[in-house]
Symmetry: C2
Subunit: 401 residues, 2 copies
């Protein structure tokens, strides 16, 4: 049976291991610590740093596929592995688009994908020029390494733009800027693609953010108007096109803004790409036939992909984010019990992580019952239930009581 090496030890690797068990695969983990989320749950754990090329090379030896739970392995290591015949998926030529936002923006524009006006920012005058060109609608971004709202700034004046750019360039942060959009909501379009080119898509989901961190995903994304239905269909097609155009293998998440154009019509704009299982795909574990972790493993091994048919007309995923102030005195296991008493259908997924403020420590999936239609009322109730459940898991209090 195949061996898959996963570089990375977070919850994504943990859930790949969980999916690998039933496929009869061996998932070998490169973990920074035996206490890491994925290492707790894996038999074949190698301890070491992904920044050490010798370690990456050793853990990859004999693997039928090498894949990742993050985008931070240096591409030159991966190029070296590929040159030696190791099956690395996804490949650096695709991964670069999930690592460097400017490279991605240029590539998206080339392929005709909807992107906001953007520019590389190499100097203070570049920043000022972008401020002028967008009439002050500036979103400044670190080209690399940002996530969960980090590495993104919204300067409020021309002067602030100039000083922020000066400061960041001084720190050696490569920068780009793009025009702020008139955001309605965020969407996420996910697909899996094999090296042979087979593609399977999940329905587009609505992703609700707070302070730059996803806290709710509603699958499929509700369409309240014909315009919304149109942009959802566009997003669905776009994710396939991006996967093909960039040669992505494994799971791809295209994070999108649903915005309003000059004429007041809904439009979509590509925000970010991720080439691995993604937070906005956690609902697939309980809401459709083939979850993203199983699909990722199948895809990187170039095996046939599973059905992405829904097993419920709507599933809502709510993140469990460490309380910003302090972890409640009630132990997590008791909080889970309270949630299960109130919501016996709540599927709680924990990552084996200690509390830290706003850290992702788990998620809850809740689905409409078999046969229930995804009416606005049913979906709204489900959103409320999932939020109540995750809020309780975070704070040990019911927000509606």
């Amino acid at each position: 049976m195949p061996l898959v090496t996963v570089i990375g030890d977070g919850q994504l690797a943990r859930m790949m291991q969980q999916a690998g068990i039933e496929l009869g695969l061996t998932v070998r983990l490169l973990a920074g610590s035996g206490a890491a989320s994925a290492a707790q749950a894996t038999a074949d754990v190698w301890l070491g740093e992904y920044t050490d090329e010798d370690v990456v090379r050793a853990v990859s030896e004999g693997a039928d596929a090498v894949t990742f739970d993050h985008e931070h392995v240096p591409n030159e290591y991966l190029e070296g592995l590929i040159a030696d015949g190791v099956n690395v998926q996804p490949q650096p030529s695709a991964l670069i688009n999930a690592q460097d936002k400017l490279v991605m923006r240029r590539r998206m524009r080339e392929m005709g994908a909807p992107v906001p006006p953007f520019a590389e920012i190499l100097s203070v005058s570049d920043g000022e020029g972008f401020w002028d060109a967008t009439d002050g609608a500036v979103c400044l971004k670190a080209r690399r390494g940002g996530y969960d709202g980090k590495g993104v700034w919204f300067p409020e004046s021309r002067e602030q733009t100039a000083s922020l750019v000066a400061e960041l360039l001084e720190q050696g942060v490569p920068l780009m800027a793009e025009k702020k959009v008139r955001l309605v909501r965020e969407l996420s379009a996910m697909v899996a693609r094999t090296p042979s080119g087979e593609i399977a898509s999940w329905p587009v989901v609505e992703s609700v953010q707070a302070d730059g961190i996803c806290y709710l995903a509603v699958a499929p994304a509700p369409a309240e108007t014909a315009g919304q239905a149109r942009v959802i269909a566009q997003a669905h097609t776009l994710a396939r096109e991006v996967a093909e155009e960039l040669g992505v293998t494994g799971v791809l998440a295209v994070e999108l803004f649903e915005a309003v154009d000059e004429a007041g019509q809904p439009e979509i704009i590509v925000n970010e790409l991720a080439m691995r299982p993604h937070n906005t795909g956690h609902w697939t574990q309980d809401g459709c036939v083939t979850g993203q972790f199983e699909q990722h493993l199948r895809a990187v091994l170039d095996r046939p992909l599973g059905s992405t048919a829904l097993s419920s007309t709507t599933t809502v995923m709510a993140n469990i984010l460490g309380d910003p102030d302090a972890d409640p005195a009630m132990p997590m296991a008791e909080r889970m019990d309270e949630v299960w008493r109130r919501f016996p259908t709540a599927k709680i997924h924990l990552y084996g992580k200690e509390w830290r403020p706003r850290r992702k420590i788990g998620h809850v999936n809740m689905s409409l019952p078999c046969g229930a239609a995804a009416t606005a009322e049913n979906v709204e109730k489900l959103r409320i239930s999932a939020r109540l459940a995750s809020d309780f898991l975070v704070t040990a209090t019911w927000k509606d009581q």
Copy 2:
């Protein structure tokens, strides 16, 4: 977070580990070998024999619950652990009914559960007497240790009964006999019960056997007549009553015969009890909200039980049993790929076990699509598909081609 010690290293322990990952539990395993099914997939593996009391005691230390993937741990060890304050679930007082068929039969009769005429067989004349009393409808059973058709005999004459009894008693096998039933089909009724007394039931399933080994389970069991609907409802109630009467904790499977009584009406008869996740409950992994492995962990920890609502109107589970003759040349991974190409909704679960004739090495679950009704036609198609898939996984050939 809680620690559960599982004594046993087979596929049931493996799938408990898989379920434990998402609950954030530590599942500690007592395994006979590091290559065992469950050990391959578990981080916290202790190697040792469950027949060694010191080993059982050591691995149980500090556990919030101690449970099993088989019934073979000597009850005196468990009594010792309980005396020392260890939380053993299920307890030996219940387990004895899953270990000793004569004890179970007597207990079932006491509580008014439907059992066939039976007797303890201590001598050849007991055997001959039972032959006479049942007019030759004799099923001879080893009181302990039989499974998958082992430890069960159907003598064809009074003389054969006598010689078989003599031989088995000579070998030191404790025996009982019961009257053969006019079998229509087998059913399985499963529940989970917590030490506090909370009970959750799954729908009763039809279990199809060949040579004493389950190879198909259809959930829920189809009822073609009002009489069948009545006995299915009886079976459903009976499983709850057995769990309560015997004080079972964790998952209980009540294996039943659906037979025809003297008046030609359907009736049910208790066949066996199992106090752990059970082969006829594997469909719950993909066919309802809370699978049996998650539910077992929750139950033995006395935590609230999850919803057993169906996520599909029918799910069929087909076992992958090692081919009786030889393992096909095509590697298992390729067989899986072929099955996935033909049936993208097939959920394949492998146990990491090498081929042996008729060994359980995995199973396949297939469910009706979201919203599809469980019509006789749809269910029949699903049965055929699941059988084709599992037959291919066993033999590398499509039985319909």
